[in-house]
Amino acid sequence: MFPTPIEKTSRNWQLTYQAMLPAALVLWLLPLLAVALFSIKPDADFTSGNYWGVPSSFNFLENYGKVFFASDMPKYLLNSVLITVPTVIGCVILSSMTGFALGVYKFKANLWVFFMFVAGNFVPFQILMVPVRDLTLDMGLYNTKIGLVLFHVAFQTGFCTLFMRNFIRALPFELIEAARVEGVAEWRIFWFVVLPLMKPALAAMSVLIFTFIWNDFFWAVVLTQGAESQPVTAGITSFNAQYRAAYHLMSAGSIVAALPPVAMFFLMQRHFIAGLTLGAVK
């Protein structure tokens, strides 16, 4: 193990390390801790200039209550859910199929199709912006959640195909060959042999896509406007405009907007990290 395990070092260094850990963490998360502190302060603290002192009262419930009951925030959150969840489902369906096709079959165009997905996935969003917005307008889906979902599913299929294909390639190929020898139809091999083995990869991928899509800002701005279809990343700017200079509410709003992916991360940590670091180890 590198660096030298802490239990094999001097007592002094062990104690220093134990003390450095929390200090480094506080320093690392300082900007976030500041926002967390803001979000429980009462309005009066800001007008009296008490930005960084001890809160004069603990206003957690008041501030977060206002975010949930006196603003459009719940609407934005619901929009985000209604955009993110269908996108995840769509990606899982499309990419388990494309990943299966590219991971199991040998055919001439295989690598080319695969590279198309990979290359497209790296493309800057701006080169797609004008035509995609146009396409969405033409389909009458501008400023709808479904318009955003369709684009996200299509675009994320690039990343997901890369992910699934690499995973399927690492599966033991003998399983598929054995099934073929038995005369099992190809689609049944997909459904009964490969799909059950893909479960961990699909879980990892779903958590990642959930986070990516929840945190998307650019496409939300390009393809939607207004509280009826905007997700929370785009909605937070209108929220902040509504509560200009009310830092306690803006802070509480930001924390609420950031929370779902954070919760997802802590609940599904193993899958999340497995997905994110796929390929980091050979």
Binding site: M1, F2, P5, I6, L21, A24, W28, P31, L32, A34, V35, G49, Y51, W52, T98, F100, A101, L102, Y105, L111, V118, A119, G120, V123, F125, Q126, I127, L128, M129, V130, P131, V132, D134, L135, F151, A154, F155, T157, G158, E186, W187, W214, N215, F217, V221, I236, T237, N240, S251, S254, A257, A258, P261, V262, Q269, I273, T277, A280, V281, K282
Partner: protein, 305 residues
């Protein structure tokens, strides 16, 4: 007499070609969606860049004049310069991530929680990171200036000063990116071969020499991915700029992706053609990296099945 034969040939055509046809059936929905929303739009954008178009009315063919205008456009060069600064400075996230990973690669109690909390910034949306950092930088009450005040340095308006603004935003972007690189390296360090480390220790290698000659070569796959995601992240920068400064002050914090959006879709006008031309330039820059990434993956893939 003919009908059973026909039925058999029909069934057997599919059976005979099952292995050839099935992958295309499975690929069809994904490929169609991807072509429609990603591949075709790239070519459409290239095409639009030769037109003058407001997005609604008639589009006029103007040849290369959008690119000519770009050539004389100061704002374009400011954006391009900032893009380069982003690219170079963003790469700092890789050594920073490695440093934190080395710091956290221990087995003391509670280390798992520490690792998750260090990773935390990556999970938060860039919009929130942008908001958090713009308050952090705030000249009147921001924490940064409070700290600087203690040391005796005057308040700096990071986001209002054209000298600092791009660096201020990049610092905000490096924060989650470092967390990402850290998690890549933590996973990589987990898989480093302990026997090689022991052997190197017996040979008297330790500290930085060990890191450089034994550990980093084994972390190569993690470094490659960190490099890919960091380059992409740097060139995709849009959210932070949009949230923190809106390109200001005086357009000094623009990058190509933001400038393109501003030209094509903001109150400054709906110049789709000109915007598309900017996007094409950004795309060409990215294409160099994409070609390199694909080449590396291809080299890798030849070893596999």
């Amino acid at each position: 007499m003919s009908s059973p034969t026909k039925a058999r040939t029909q069934r057997s055509w599919y059976k005979r070609n099952e292995i050839a046809v099935t992958p295309w059936l499975f690929l069809a929905p994904g490929v169609v969606a991807f072509l429609l929303y990603v591949i075709f739009p790239i070519f459409q954008s290239i095409n639009i860049s030769f037109y003058e178009w407001d997005g609604l009315g008639e589009a006029y063919w103007v040849g290369l004049s959008n690119y000519e205008e770009l050539y004389w456009d100061d704002a374009f060069y400011v954006s391009l310069r900032n893009n380069l600064i982003w690219l170079v400075l963003y790469l700092l996230a890789i050594p920073a991530g490695l440093a934190i990973a080395l710091f956290l690669n221990q087995t003391v109690t509670g280390i798992r929680l520490y690792k998750s909390l260090f990773f935390f910034p990556f999970v938060i949306s860039q919009v929130v990171v942008g908001l958090v950092f713009s308050w952090f930088y705030d000249p009147s009450f921001g924490l940064l200036n409070q700290i600087l005040g203690v040391v005796g340095l005057g308040p700096i308006n990071v986001l209002g000063d054209e000298r600092f603004v791009t660096y201020g935003i990049i610092a905000a972007g490096i924060w989650p990116q470092t967390a990402y690189c850290m998690i890549l390296y933590l996973t990589g360090l987990n898989a480093v071969d302990p026997e090689q480390i022991e052997a190197a220790r017996l040979d008297g290698a330790k500290g930085l020499r060990m890191l450089w000659h034994v550990i980093i070569p084994q972390l190569k796959p993690a470094t490659f991915i960190a490099f890919v995601v960091t380059i992409i992240g740097a060139l995709r920068s849009f959210d932070l700029i949009s949230i923190m400064t809106g390109g200001g002050p005086f357009g000094e914090s623009r990058v190509l992706s933001f400038y393109m959006f501003e030209v094509a879709l903001s109150e400054y006008g709906f110049r789709m053609g000109y915007g598309a031309a900017i996007a094409v330039v950004l795309f060409l820059i990215m294409l160099c990296f994409i070609a390199y990434f694909l080449y590396s993956m291809y080299q890798d893939d030849k070893g596999g099945r």
